[in-house]
């Protein structure tokens, strides 16, 4: 098996790495100290731009560019908000960082605060992450004790405080403006953009929102340089990625590999191949919101640009593998149920659309599908896309459109015969 450098996961196997002593003995906080004592914010932003670090929450926007949008002449306070509301089905990477290397996140936050002139960071962690919150809280306490957080960071007189904010179970709060609303004590309704958070974010102040994994990349970028980081990945996609692999593979788990690693290699080599000696049927490459790929489409590089070119997305890098026995109507039912449950209800096309979609797929699943259902589903999906305030309205119809388009015959069989052709096939072979 090909092996690659471990950057983000280097401490995952180190015993007690969540304690500051162990983190320090591995060179921890050297990057933040260097930045605070000898760098200028502009220099840091330039370095991160050069590294080709992109937002690893899923949107893939250049981190350096995002920072540069913070107005220089603003007299209001600036905030860093950390998106740890990990909830994209198929994704579990941020949990590993929070639990196994929490100081990497604290150090990343320190670096980001310095870049954008912020003295306070809010870390929004999903409510179910009780254990990760406990571990991260302890890391923040330790960093405070050492003087890395508080009123006098590294003796420079610069102040940084971290506030941990526990969510309460709403997928939509992973959308950055819904997250800001939630942080302000409201229901998670996404905001209209513009104004963008860089200008008017939390409490109406300039705000940078970064994902956990993105921030964890900052210490190594500072320590080893932007060029080194950029070279780890591929064109315009710097660094490595924590790929969450689950579903029908022999070794489900988290694999750190360079951006641009072929999807087939991830499935067959790192995750041990499709389980039970079965054939591959389909793969979701970047969380449930990404277009599905058929087994003949997996010879593709896993980076933002390559997946966008084939109409899918790298997203959160949550790779969900399906073997030949998977019923696509069932998988679409699961996806539709999820989106109907999580639609926040603000925009009509999404609120109503996700409900209709679910009802129709349930009908097909239960064997009462009507001949016009499939085309109606595609129609509803297309009418949701681009017609809502946030990207949820684009995500929700993506499984609908991609599963039905790519596995049309299977859906048609379900509608016509009221059952799965896989069932029929397995009965015939018995």
């Amino acid at each position: 098996m090909k092996s690659y450098p471990k950057i983000l996961s280097k401490n995952f196997e180190v015993p007690h790495a969540q304690h500051i002593g162990v983190y320090l003995s591995g060179g921890g906080y050297e990057a933040a100290r260097k930045v605070y004592t000898s760098w200028k914010p502009e220099q840091l932003i330039e370095e991160v731009k050069k590294s080709n670090l992109r937002g690893l929450g899923g949107a893939g926007f250049s981190t350096g560019m995002k920072w540069a949008f913070i107005p220089k002449d603003s007299t209001r306070p600036h905030y860093v908000v950390v998106n740890a509301d990990e909830g994209e089905p198929g994704t579990f990477k941020d949990r590993y960082i929070l639990c196994k290397d929490p100081h990497a996140l604290v150090e990343g936050i320190l670096i980001a605060c310095f870049a954008v002139g912020s003295h306070k960071a809010f870390v929004y962690i999903r409510g179910e992450y009780v254990e990760p919150i406990r571990i991260f809280r302890e890391a923040v306490r330790e960093a405070h004790e050492k003087g890395f957080l508080g009123k006098n960071v590294f003796g420079t007189g610069y102040e940084v405080e971290i506030v941990i904010h526990q969510g309460a179970g709403a997928y939509i709060c992973g959308e950055e403006t819904a997250l800001l609303e939630s942080l302000e004590g409201k229901k998670g309704f996404p905001r209209l953009k513009p104004p963008f958070p860089a200008v008017k974010g939390v409490f109406g102040c300039p705000t940078v929102i970064n994902n956990v994994e993105t921030l964890a990349c900052l210490p190594p970028i500072v320590n080893l340089g932007a060029e080194w980081f950029a070279k780890l990945g591929c064109e315009k996609n710097g660094g490595t990625r924590l790929y969450s692999v689950s579903g029908h593979v022999n070794r489900p788990g988290l694999y750190e590999l360079p951006l641009g690693t072929p999807l087939r290699e991830i499935i067959e080599e790192h995750a041990g191949g499709v389980w039970k000696g079965r054939q591959l049927k389909a793969v979701i490459p970047g969380g449930i919101s990404a277009s599905i790929l058929r087994s003949d489409e997996v010879d593709i590089k896993m980076d933002f640009n390559s997946l966008a070119r084939v109409g899918s997305m790298l997203g959160s890098a949550g790779v969900v593998v399906m073997d030949e026995t998977t019923c696509m109507v069932t998988t679409l039912l699961v996806a539709a149920r999820f989106f109907a449950h999580e639609s926040c209800g603000q925009c009509s096309p999404c609120r109503e659309g996700t409900g209709w979609v679910l009802k129709m797929i349930e009908r097909i699943y239960e064997g009462h599908g009507r001949s016009q259902d499939l085309d109606n589903l595609l129609d509803i999906g297309k009418n949701m896309m681009g017609n809502t305030i946030c990207a949820f309205g684009d995500a929700a119809p993506t499984p609908v459109i991609s599963y039905i388009t790519k596995f049309r015959a299977e859906f048609e069989y379900h509608v016509r015969h009221g059952k799965c052709d896989l069932e029929d096939r397995s009965q015939k072979s018995e």
């Binding site: 579990f92 579903g247 979701i284």
Partner: protein, 162 residues
């Protein structure tokens, strides 16, 4: 008339500390509700009114938030709350069978709590632990991959400790 709800003074001190971390009182709403629910087991209408007074918010704003977020609930849950994930990766690895098995063992349907308040069973969306699919959250703890045998084992341990 019902006596007005009184928040424990110990918790009140903790809440004051939380509120002081935020720029506005309203911003502390989620953490305040989270702590209150942890302490009292649910968000009753009395707690809602208390929180509204405490954070100087219209009751409507508190109600809106409590009803929006899945983790807040008005009814008391059982001492052991089984939250079974039914999203994609768990489905692919057989969560439906595990959910049916647990329903049978607990004699509960989705969303129900046993009369003795020992058990609650819910199905939930992705908990972000797909590598341990099929999995569940048992109170604060993530457990997986689940098998009928591991479910039996967990129920046996609960029985012994009761």
């Amino acid at each position: 008339m019902q006596a007005k709800f009184q928040m424990s003074s110990e918790l009140k001190t903790e809440l004051d500390k939380i509120v002081s971390q935020y720029e506005t009182k309203q911003a502390a709403l989620l953490p305040v509700l989270n702590l209150a629910q942890e302490k009292y087991g649910s968000i009753s209408p009395e707690i809602e009114s208390w929180v509204a007074d405490y954070l100087q918010l219209p009751l409507m704003k508190v109600r809106e938030v409590v009803s929006f977020y899945t983790l807040f609930h008005a009814e008391q849950k059982g001492k052991h709350h089984f939250q079974m994930c039914r999203n994609m990766s768990c489905m692919l690895r057989g969560c439906e069978e595990m959910i049916e098995y647990l329903k049978e063992r607990l004699k509960l349907e989705d969303g129900q709590t046993s009369q003795d308040r020992c058990f609650s069973l819910s199905t939930v969306e992705c908990l972000a632990a797909c590598e341990m699919a099929p999995m569940m959250q048992l109170n604060d703890r993530y457990v997986g991959p689940l098998t009928k045998e591991s479910i039996d084992q967990i129920l046996k341990e609960i029985e012994i400790n009761n």
